[in-house]
């Protein structure tokens, strides 16, 4: 396990065809922009996949959380294919399974319920982020 650096990289699914891809991305944005803006670093999955040096450095030096939108787990597998350990891996459908009252809809953009689910999921991931970053829970 990597030593905490105070930062955590989140890599969501990049799919543009399914609601759970959009949910993965929205959850990552919630984490990066609202829940832990001082801790979360976002990078593009394709950049990691094509071996961009800056992106690789980011995921090599910091703990990585992947949030996938489908069972193909592209985000998780792509990071691991570079020999980089994924600290925590999620599938966004699990957020819905845990909150069946919040069924997300929308592909390009989530509906209001989907955005609410992403916010709830990001709040729930905050403790994991704090732990990986080596910070006290807020």
């Amino acid at each position: 396990m990597k030593k905490p650096t105070g930062k955590v990289v989140v890599i969501p699914c990049s799919g543009i065809g399914k609601v759970y891809g959009a949910l993965a991305r929205e959850t990552a944005y919630e984490l990066a922009e609202r829940v832990r803006p001082d801790t979360i670093l976002l990078t593009c999955l394709p950049l990691v996949v094509v071996g961009d040096e800056q992106a690789k450095q980011l995921v090599t030096e910091n703990p990585v959380i992947t949030i996938d939108g489908c069972p193909m787990k592209c985000a998780h597998k792509s990071v691991e294919s570079h020999g980089i350990e994924v600290a925590q891996s999620y599938q966004s459908i699990s957020f819905y399974v845990a909150h069946k009252d919040l069924k997300p809809e929308g592909v390009t953009e989530l509906d209001e319920t989907g955005r609410k689910l992403a916010a709830v999921a990001a709040d729930e991931l905050a403790a994991v982020v704090d732990s990986l970053a080596g910070k006290e829970p807020k």
């Binding site: 969501p12 699914c13 990049s14 944005y29 593009c44 394709p46 094509v50």
Partner: protein, 138 residues
């Protein structure tokens, strides 16, 4: 020669979670797929394509592709060239913004009404590229 009626064009979109131009790319591509060119375009999930998704690889081996990248790193174009040959066309959002002297969005989500106009501009450029490819043009 392939029957024109049977030709579909694969859109390989940058997902660019890190940048507003990535969001622009995703939304413009979906607009083309769902509204401007339904029936003649399909989306190729970039990370899945790179990770070896069989359907994606089979499609790009048989049909023309258009890559849409959010930034000059051109992940979609580079990946397509490496895995299935030269795309029929390659579009870079930042170049369209520069050519048309449009200010790109500054947000990665919750785009403004003005941003949505920019999405429409990019989608129309992409739709033109689809027509060019279907007509056998460059």
């Amino acid at each position: 020669m392939m029957d024109k009626a049977l030709i579909k064009v694969g859109i390989v979109s940058c997902s660019g979670e890190e940048l507003p131009e990535g969001t622009l790319s995703r939304l413009a591509c979906r607009k083309v797929l769902d509204e401007l060119k339904p029936g003649t375009t399909v989306t190729i999930c970039l990370p899945l394509f790179i990770a070896g998704g069989e359907e994606e690889r089979n499609f790009t081996a048989k049909f023309p592709t258009i890559t849409v990248d959010g930034c000059k790193k051109r992940c979609a174009q580079r990946s397509t060239e490496a895995l299935s040959g030269k795309p029929a066309k390659s579009i870079v959002i930042t170049e369209i913004m520069h050519e048309k002297q449009i200010t790109p969005p500054v947000r990665r989500r919750n785009l403004t009404e003005q941003d949505k106009i920019v999405v429409q501009v990019v989608a129309e450029e992409l739709a033109k590229a689809v027509d060019d490819v279907l007509e056998g043009g460059e």
